[in-house]
Symmetry: C2
């Protein structure tokens, strides 16, 4: 038989088992935290009719989308989870209860040029809260609490949630005489972190034709934090001058006001007027989350408030707020930066049982006891030498090995070896189960991410 | 703006939120149980190079596969989880530890004719144990224990695990003079349940040219259970006549021998010599699992032992044993047959908090306390009438509603309403958290499946 060389497509993440354990733990943590905030789980097809996914059309999406026909149906793989959500809410509107909260963790597809850290198939983890006609600002205020709890539960400590409000920017741009081209100005100031203040000023003045004075006013305000001024204070001087700006300022204030009650420490949050988020479709609060020690990675969790989720599919006004984590990319950069927690033992079992007798009955019964108690147990009955079996336990990183030989069976005991300390004890099966269960309980709460010690 | 009618492709399951809760609980249960048996989680891309997926080629696969090009790459969506596993093990062989145990729950794609109960995108949940060169029979013996524990944890009670052994069939067919066409005979007897003994006999004699006497011998043996004879007893008369048959009998005996220790009750297991499993690639024990009350559904969990997992991708001999659940189809039939457990409340939150004051601080702080304790809490701050808010709680099926008005805030208490009993109590926030946590703990252990009471 001719052998076909096995390969995995480039741009498609495929993890080794130990790494997959970390990834699964991250997903489990997200599911758990999102559930605590009352979000439904949701799952939608990875394939949709192309006319649905491309309703908006144009631009990068159309270039990158995986599109094909099967029979005579024009199909596409979803490129995000937002468009399928819009379709879902429009399609099932009558059967949903609003505000509708859902989380979805799933793969999406973009045929980008393959390069390190860029994926063509990747997980996104999204949460959204959708209102029917209206959605209270308190939903926007809750998001930083969710972001904080999510990343804390994952094991991250040194990160900051940065927020802004599109109404503030739009209102202020109008005041600064550039209301007509607010979108272009926004996309330009969005580059501040990348290219710096001077270059953004040049772009504003030379490319967009903004008067130098107005460009200065804009940059002055949005970079006020760099000069130690609280953005809410800096905005005070403009209060009462533009209704949209006023609304934005009030919203920013509300979101800031309840941080403590939502459990967000002050040092994990800031109002940052430079954050614009490119997408046209945001209309209120916008969010970014950055690692203090790796700002170059950019935002690891972003989103915002929007007024019209599903305008392509329904006449109903469905405003919402949502955030998204690009989980595959996040995992990839965390791995690169040594953020996978070494304290998490990525072994597939807590106990490896090595029967030493012909009759496997007692060993199997003990494995069943362990599993019944919730301990992950693997039987190793291959015809191998003892040394090979211990090497197997080592390679798997199993914390406990249990031996069951004739001695043990005769005395109704098992020998438990702690692979960490090398210590070995003989106890009754029931004692062994209880003792191991007690010790592994701590291990279960170990988060998947651990920040590397700094020099 | 032109509205595009939202739709979901036929053959693609998309559940309403309440149903999705059940589906998620099923997946969570599978992950938990598979982990107890020492299986690594695994995830592989949904898209592979077509040459990889179609290495075997031919038949239904090639017709049904979703295949397309992106740039100049010939791509396909995976149609099962076995071929990607074979590729994975061959590709990463040097970095894996054998026996390699993995579970994988993921979507696969088959462009079948759409009809009720047939899906083009569906979840499979697979476990496999792969050996390097050898794999002990005890791994085959462990599978019924895993199947039993999995379905019991899901909440099923009335099911039976049926096993057979391909060596028994192959050996016996040789004895019966039809060894040359063992494959054809096997595929024919596989139809026994569907078309009955008489039609199978006709097919054997008329289509395959099996001598009538031999056809009778074959049917006599494999249907022995119908006449009250234990297959292991029936096989005794053939012992010592064919080495392959002997091996098969020994293996069947080993698998039966340890059932009790593996925790499988006798009445949930049977040796059934009529089970053949169509696939050529099984070589030892084969498994099927059927619902006692719905045999028409067919097997809900099947698999078997194979000698050569990855022959298309490597020269190494990688024998294994695995089973698969077609999760989407299983869910669909269970739903149809009223097997979704009504005792599981598919609400997205345990508590809905209704603040009754302008200042939302105390309500938000209470929500944070609940979440900190692991209680799923949702704040409802929309500008709605009280009645509408209670209707929202009802529609979500939230078991507890908490009111926080001026009275409560002044006295440092919260009012908790049990939506099941209508009972309402005022207690301290800490007492409320503890009380609710205690009550919902029971609810968490409710399995997703419940068999409907029979008349």
């Amino acid at each position: 038989m001719e052998i076909i060389k096995p390969r995995t497509l480039s741009g498609f993440m495929e993890l080794l088992p130990e790494k997959q354990v970390y990834f699964e733990k991250m997903m489990a943590t997200l599911r758990e935290i999102y559930s605590l905030y009352g979000f439904y789980p949701l799952d939608t097809p990875q394939i949709e009719a192309s006319e649905i996914l491309l309703a908006k059309g144009g631009g990068e999406t159309e270039k990158q989308i995986y599109r094909f026909t099967k029979g005579d149906t024009d199909l596409s793989l979803r490129f995000d989870l937002t468009v399928p959500l819009a379709k879902y809410v429009a399609l099932h509107y009558g059967q949903l209860t609003f505000p509708f909260r859902r989380y979805q963790i799933g793969k999406v597809y973009r045929g980008e040029r393959a390069q390190r850290g860029r994926f063509r198939e990747f997980y996104q983890a999204d949460i959204d809260i959708i209102g029917d006609g209206n959605l209270d600002i308190i939903n926007e205020a809750e998001i930083p609490g969710i972001i904080y709890k999510t990343f804390s539960a994952l094991g991250l400590k040194r990160f900051v949630i940065r927020i802004n409000n599109r109404k503030v920017l739009n209102g202020f741009f109008r005041l600064a005489g550039v209301g007509e081209m607010a979108g272009d100005v926004m996309r330009t100031v969005d580059k501040l972190e990348k290219i710096g203040t001077d270059k953004v000023r040049s772009l504003l003045v030379e490319e967009l034709g903004v008067a130098a004075e107005n460009a200065d006013r804009i940059l002055d305000l949005i970079t006020c934090r760099d000069r130690g001024t609280d953005p809410l204070d800096a905005l005070k001087q403009y209060q009462g001058m533009d209704p949209v700006l006023d609304e934005g300022i009030t919203e920013l204030a509300v979101v800031s006001q309840y941080l403590e009650q939502f459990g967000v420490p002050q040092d994990h949050f800031m109002i940052d007027l430079t954050i614009a988020r490119g997408l046209d479709y945001y209309t209120g609060t916008v969010y970014e989350t950055t690692l203090l020690d790796h700002p170059e990675i950019g935002s690891i969790c972003s989103g915002g408030r929007y007024d019209d989720l599903a305008g392509y599919y329904t006449d109903r006004k469905l405003p919402g707020v949502g955030i998204s984590i690009g989980l595959t990319r996040l995992f990839s950069v965390l791995e690169d930066q040594n953020y996978l927690n070494p304290a998490l033992t990525p072994s597939p079992a807590d106990v490896l049982i090595l029967p030493m007798t012909e009759d496997l009955g007692p060993a199997i019964a003990f494995a069943t006891d362990l599993r019944e108690a919730g301990v992950r147990a693997q039987l190793h009955c291959e015809k191998k030498k003892f040394k090979q079996k211990m090497a197997y336990a080592d390679r798997l990183g199993v914390p406990y090995v249990v031996f069951l030989g004739e001695d043990e069976i005769r005395s109704g005991r098992v020998t438990v070896k702690d692979m960490g300390t090398g210590e070995q004890i003989q106890v009754s099966p029931a004692m062994a189960v209880a003792g191991i269960l007690e010790k592994i309980k701590e291990k279960r709460t170990v988060p998947p991410i651990g920040e590397p010690a700094k020099d």
